[in-house]
């Protein structure tokens, strides 16, 4: 069929219009100033303290929620897919995770404010029934810790969704074979289980990192800009009522591309190494 390739043209057009073209615009626009002339002023502004802090906070939150979400999601997946678990748990968890992984943004922020905020349901319960006011003891939802707690709400289900098929792929025969050969549980995991899962684990962690790194509406709805994060900084210079510097926004976006590219550069050799046993 000589014209079969025409079938992918719509996809490439779509990818070009909505992925490559905007990325190209960001790349070009980051090097322009307000009058349209070429300049590297925006790039040097990126190294000012407040933007460095914003990127550092973003990377920190993304790493913490990616690793923590990864570990917890993995444990939940193991528990749900283990042999002794009732059959109905898996479809229930999958459905819930499908919803929760996409439940983000302002509704999520407000749900948490209504639960753990200063007059939230859980806060009020702890304060009135147990006499323990978490806000008087230093906890606050409107901080980096609060953002991490909220992000975990969609990171853990996402991890579950991504890793469940990989766990499915682990054959029960391997476990039986290894215990037949005298390996302990720890040895099984160390030499068989984890190496098999590692490529998927790494891929899922990178996915979670990128997911948290780019999240905007959730952090905005929760802290309104009180915690400096890279996507929030972009929003401030592009669509606020105070600052107006779209090219700086493009430079910040370029900075985010750079961070994600660095993450990929770390990921590729790790992935190769972990998939060594498959070759």
């Amino acid at each position: 069929m000589p014209y079969a390739w025409l079938g992918v043209v719509p996809f490439f057009l779509y990818a070009f219009a909505f992925l490559l073209l905007p990325a190209g615009q960001v790349l070009v626009g980051a090097f322009k100033d307000k009058d349209g002339a070429w300049s590297t002023a925006n790039i040097s502004t990126l190294f000012e303290q407040q933007y460095v802090d914003a990127f550092r906070n973003s990377i920190e939150i993304s790493l913490v929620t990616a690793v923590l979400g990864g570990i917890l999601g993995l444990c939940i997946a193991f528990a749900a897919l283990a042999d002794g678990t009732p059959r109905w748990i898996r479809p229930a968890l999958t459905t819930f995770s499908g919803v929760a992984a996409n439940f983000g943004g302002i509704p999520l922020a407000f749900a948490f404010i209504a639960t753990l905020g200063t007059i939230g349901v859980v806060t009020a319960f702890l304060r009135d029934q147990l006499g323990y006011n978490i806000y008087f003891h230093g906890f606050t939802l409107f901080s980096k810790t609060g953002i991490e707690i909220v992000y975990l709400y969609f990171q853990i289900p996402l991890m579950f969704l991504v890793i469940a098929p990989a766990i499915d792929g682990m054959k029960r025969e391997w476990r039986e074979a290894s215990s037949n050969l005298g390996a302990s549980s720890w040895q099984y995991w160390r030499h068989v289980g984890l190496p098999v899962l590692m490529p998927s684990l790494l891929g899922a962690t990178i996915l979670l990192f990128g997911n948290a790194f780019a999240a905007y509406a959730t952090a905005y709805g929760l802290t309104g800009g009180g915690v400096a994060l890279a996507p929030l900084k972009i929003g401030e210079v592009v669509s606020g009522n105070v600052l107006d510097n779209p090219h700086l926004g493009q430079a910040l976006a370029l900075g985010m591309f750079a961070v994600l590219a660095a993450a990929m550069l770390l990921y590729v050799p790790l992935q190769r190494r972990s998939a060594r046993w498959m070759r």
Binding site: I113, G226, A228, S239, N241
Partner: protein
């Protein structure tokens, strides 16, 4: 053959054995045809008269007639509960029979200017804008706005209009403290009061000063109250840092919802918004206090899109807003309209409206920042806010 019955149409399709391919081709042709034909129709529908640059150059009757021919007005970023815009829009629609499409009610000034840029030539572009002064200045310099001197232009105070006619100040307000008296026993009267430990986790701004004009004004007011000035907002930023350290400041954006739910018991915001909350949520027992130690005011700006799809309707909107009726509707929304002094001099303000506002004496100390001072403050906030309240 007219198809009166939709079932008949389907029967015809089945009987005629219209193949899927034929149906698709006919559908595509119809789609292309309608798209091509609709655009020139729209262009011919618009009148070919040039809209005037001065209100006096056209009679009201002619202006209303031309606006009616256009049939509608596109507004943008006008929340219905902001300075009574809900009633302003409905009154305008009823009075002139024009329908208003209000796009993006919670949008920001940056988004308004951006809409003018990206929707150029599109019939959905906004006709009129209400933006903060720095965006008005930027838009005027960029050529986004049309020159228009409405009939009352001369009466508008000098500091509230653009000499070239690109924008006019519409209403102003001052930063006030809104307080939920159910939750707060002792109502704070000044910025200094806010630092008291009894207000822990209670004080909020209307957003972050890096994105919200109202929050930036809050920083200005705090600066005036703490030994700073319009040229130096450092003390204001430090004040919020202190407020955060004391645990009194919560970085939640104060909205009608957080006011009603009691999540933000003390809100630093425009007086017209706080006074409107008082009326909208009687159960919250919302009091509005003008702080005794720092009174900062700012106005917003009306402008007309240079490429407005409905230019006559846009000018009619501005003319009507600056009639006594229009100005009093803004006053009803608890804001001070641009022609407030003139209305007061001619004794046109009903006593009930005056009583609803805080006493005029409290407003006497008000300070307004000019464009240069605002730009300097923005830069200062941009550099220092995250560090102070981080």
């Amino acid at each position: 053959m007219p198809d009166r019955d939709p079932d008949e149409m389907f029967l015809r399709v089945v009987d005629e054995r219209i193949s899927r391919g034929t149906l698709l081709r006919r559908g595509l042709a119809t789609g292309i045809g309608l798209t091509i034909l609709s655009s020139p129709l729209d262009a011919f529908a618009r009148g070919s008269k040039t809209p005037p640059t001065r209100g006096q150059l056209i009679t009201m009757k002619e202006l209303i007639a031309e606006a009616k021919k256009e049939g509608k007005l596109n507004t943008i970023a006008l929340p219905p509960d902001w300075a009574n815009y809900g009633q302003i829009m409905s009154t305008f629609q009823k009075k002139y029979g024009l329908s208003i499409t209000n796009d993006n009610p919670d949008g920001s000034s940056a988004q308004e200017n951006q809409a003018v840029r990206s929707l150029k030539g599109d019939p959905r572009a906004p006709d009129v804008l209400d933006v903060s002064p720095s965006f008005a200045a930027a838009g005027a310099n960029e050529g986004l706005y049309a020159k228009y001197f409405n009939r009352r232009f001369k009466t508008i105070p000098r500091e509230m209009k653009d000499g070239r006619g690109f924008w006019v100040g519409d209403y102003w307000g001052v930063i006030s403290l809104g307080v939920n008296q159910n939750i707060v026993r002792n109502v704070p009267k000044s910025f200094k009061d806010l630092l008291k430990p009894e207000y822990k986790n209670q004080v909020a701004l209307n957003g972050s000063p890096l994105t919200s004009g109202s929050a930036l004004a809050g920083v200005f007011a705090a600066a005036l109250a703490n030994g700073g000035s319009l040229n130096n907002v450092g003390p204001g930023i430090d004040f919020f840092g202190k407020l955060k350290q004391a645990g009194n400041f919560i970085p939640v954006q104060a909205t009608p919802q957080t006011v009603a739910s009691g999540q933000t018991p003390i809100v630093i915001d425009w007086d017209y918004l706080n006074l409107a909350y008082g009326k909208e949520f009687p159960s919250a027992k919302w009091a509005t206090k003008i702080p005794t130690d720092g009174v900062y005011g700012a106005h917003y700006c009306q402008a007309i899109n240079a490429n407005a799809p409905h230019p006559f309707a846009a000018r009619l909107w501005q003319e009507w807003l600056y009639t006594d009726a229009g100005q009093l509707l803004w006053l009803k929304g608890y804001s001070h309209p641009a022609l407030f002094q003139d209305l007061a001099k001619r004794k046109k303000i009903p006593a009930s409206l005056l009583k609803a506002l805080p006493p005029a004496a409290l407003y006497a100390k008000v300070k307004f920042a000019n464009a240069a001072q605002t730009a300097k403050a923005k830069e200062r906030v941009n550099n220092d806010w995250a560090k102070a309240t981080g």
